[in-house]
């Protein structure tokens, strides 16, 4: 099957669900979410049969001009699978979160206003999938905007909740600003190289007489991309928006949006990092961004008392580690995985850990009506199995050995060691140590603090299965990471 069917199917699924939701007079809306999840699983299955034009050059579709805009390599397939899996879990999370969603939309006592919340992530997913295949900056920009515009809506979705509205306005204003930087930077890159196609940019780099305008443009594009991946200097929005947005949206933002930002960063920087002309200044820029992001994310996370806000800072911290892997640039060779694969692997483990934590957080939010660390008190006594799962997930986020998080962090450190980035290594070490402190703070609250007659949580079946699957995946990938590597092949 030609690869471009995947996006077309995702968008079609979204449109069909929107129509069905509008014309169906049924009271509940959770069936929209279940239908979306089933459809996503089907598309995910088709991903493994999708092929590019190289695999079947004789087919009629292989010579279509569409392939001027669209590529399908192993990296594109990996990030398509990533987008589909993230969206699947986010929609499942939204189904269990619908009581809170319904409370803050149209009619508080019915689910009438929640239908679109299940359909919109599909469009964002299609945007992320197109982004992974983009061959030129125009296509990448349009796909990225599709993702961002969908997020503007999803963040402000609970419009009767002041926090969600405030988050929506903040995200909109800062998002528009970062888009401005991105477009301005792309204009400079286009002006300096005369093309927006990434492959042609790589070709014209050796002939450049003056790289100053190009570097100026790259700096602006990086500011725009830092907004999407949540890195310094555009990290200010993250805590407020993550805290205010509905929890499924927060999970989607912290995993899906970040991965979309990173695939674009990788695709955009790859030609510049491969060329001697521009590599030096860009690596310096990446190292500065990585160190600042690591320090900001980890040190500001220490005093947090709200768990959702803590996860926001943790997401900044992980962006720092990922940037450090790029700053220690190493192309892929026969004996070692390059920076790109390490970043992708790290993101995959980050998906498993973060989505698992958000499933638990959503249930605590619904059943204990709070998101602070105190609301996790006594979870070890009332729900030992759930507390154990959350302990595993948090330990993985901190980077404890035998979990998936450790392998990701270990590979980032070994890349940085190979590249002799001593300032980066020192900062990353301090950050990892700070990470242990604030993640274990939550674990301590669960096991060592007593709750005063807080009810024990009753997990709905979907959440139970998802938390179980994600926790086991974190443990399995910690010992046997081959499944993720085979996806990257």
């Amino acid at each position: 099957m030609p690869a471009y069917y995947l996006e077309a199917l995702t968008v079609t699924l979204g449109i069909i669900l929107l129509m069905a939701e509008t014309f169906c007079s049924c009271k509940g809306k959770s069936w929209v979410g279940i239908a979306a999840a089933v459809g996503l699983v089907a598309i995910l299955g088709l991903t493994f049969t999708a092929i590019g034009p190289e695999a079947k050059p004789t087919a009629a579709w292989a010579s279509w001009p569409l392939w001027n805009f669209y590529q399908f390599d192993s990296l594109a397939r990996f990030y398509k699978i990533f987008a589909l899996v993230t969206t699947l879990f986010v929609i499942l999370l939204a189904i269990d979160f619908r009581s809170i969603l319904a409370r803050f939309t149209d009619t508080p006592d019915s689910e009438a206003g929640t239908g679109e919340f299940y359909a919109l992530p599909l469009f964002a997913c299609a945007g992320m999938m197109w982004l992974a295949s983009a061959k030129d900056l125009a296509g990448a920009f349009v796909s990225l905007e599709l993702v961002t515009v969908t997020f503007y809506i999803l963040v402000a979705y609970m419009r009767r909740n002041v926090g969600s509205l405030e988050a929506g306005v903040k995200y909109l204003i800062l998002g528009a600003l970062s888009t401005g930087f991105l477009v301005y930077g792309i204009a400079w890159v286009y002006g300096a190289t005369g093309t927006m196609r990434l492959a042609e940019i790589a070709n014209c780099l050796p002939h450049l007489t003056n790289t100053t305008p190009l570097l100026f443009g790259i700096a602006f594009v990086m500011i725009g991309l830092c907004f999407k991946i949540g890195a310094v200097p555009m990290q200010v929005w993250i805590p407020d928006v993550y805290q205010g947005a509905p929890t499924p949206t927060t999970a989607f933002l912290s995993v899906g949006s970040k991965a979309a930002g990173f695939i674009l960063t990788i695709r955009f920087l790859e030609p510049f990092l491969a060329s001697e002309v521009t590599r030096g200044p860009i690596l310096t820029l990446l190292l500065i961004l990585a160190c600042a992001t690591l320090l900001f994310g980890n040190l500001a996370a220490i005093p947090q008392t709200n768990f959702k806000r803590l996860l926001a800072y943790s997401s900044i911290a992980h962006a720092g580690f990922l940037l450090l892997a790029l700053a220690a640039w190493k192309p892929e060779t026969a004996i070692s995985e390059g920076s790109i694969k390490v970043v992708s692997f790290y993101l995959a483990t980050y998906l498993l850990m973060t989505l698992g934590v958000f499933f638990v957080l959503a249930q605590v939010r619904i059943q204990r009506d709070g998101e602070t660390i105190h609301d996790f008190n006594g979870l070890g006594k009332s729900n030992p199995a759930l507390a154990l799962a959350l302990t595993v997930l948090l330990a993985a986020l901190a980077g404890v050995p035998l979990t998936a998080g450790f392998i990701g962090k270990f590979m980032v450190f070994s890349l940085a060691l190979d590249a002799q980035l001593w300032p980066g290594i020192v900062v990353a070490f301090i950050s990892a140590a700070a990470g242990f402190y604030y993640y274990f703070n939550v674990i301590r609250a669960m096991w060592w603090r007593d709750s005063h007659n807080a009810p024990s949580l009753i997990l709905p079946p979907i959440s139970k299965v998802c938390i179980g699957v994600l926790t086991i995946a974190v443990l399995v990938c910690g010992i046997w990471p081959q499944p993720i590597w085979s996806l990257l092949k």
Binding site: P65, T107, G113, A119, L120, G139, V142, V149, F216
Partner: protein, 187 residues
Amino acid sequence: MPSYLFWLFSVIMLAGGAAVIAFRNPVASALSVVACFVGLAGLFIGLSAFFVGVIQILVYTGAVMVLFLFIIMLLDLKDEEKSAKPLVPIAAGIGLVAAFTMQLIGVLSRSPDTTAPALDAQTFTVAAAGFPASSKIATNLLSGKLPDVHLIGRTLFTQYNLPLQILGVLLLVATIGVVVLSKRQAD
């Protein structure tokens, strides 16, 4: 374009942009945006991008800004109240703008100046060679006219075909978003 026209339109644009922030009355701010867009349209036309210049006036100034004015009047927005101005953010803002301007000047002073090719018969003939001989674009170019609507359309539908289709999905999502976020409670 003659350089005095360039300076005239640039000054109109910059003054309009500054006035948007300076005015406290939202209607005055919206009208300043109109002035800014008119200057921008003038610059586009001066650069021989006639279609983009006209669209700038028709769509942005004519439609979008008039809608803005309608909304401002319907919501009956009052003048923005004067707030205390903390020194630190203003100083940081000025610092950032200064750093940006310095960098821009530095980059521009290091790049060699190049002039755009003049729109004369020779340029047209060279450009027409890139299109089929009997096509509308080629005949127009050879007779000394600039078929910029056709050229833009052709570029959009050939060189940016997939991005254009993705934009369609984006517009759909934006429409749904507006409905979802502003839907009134049904009784």
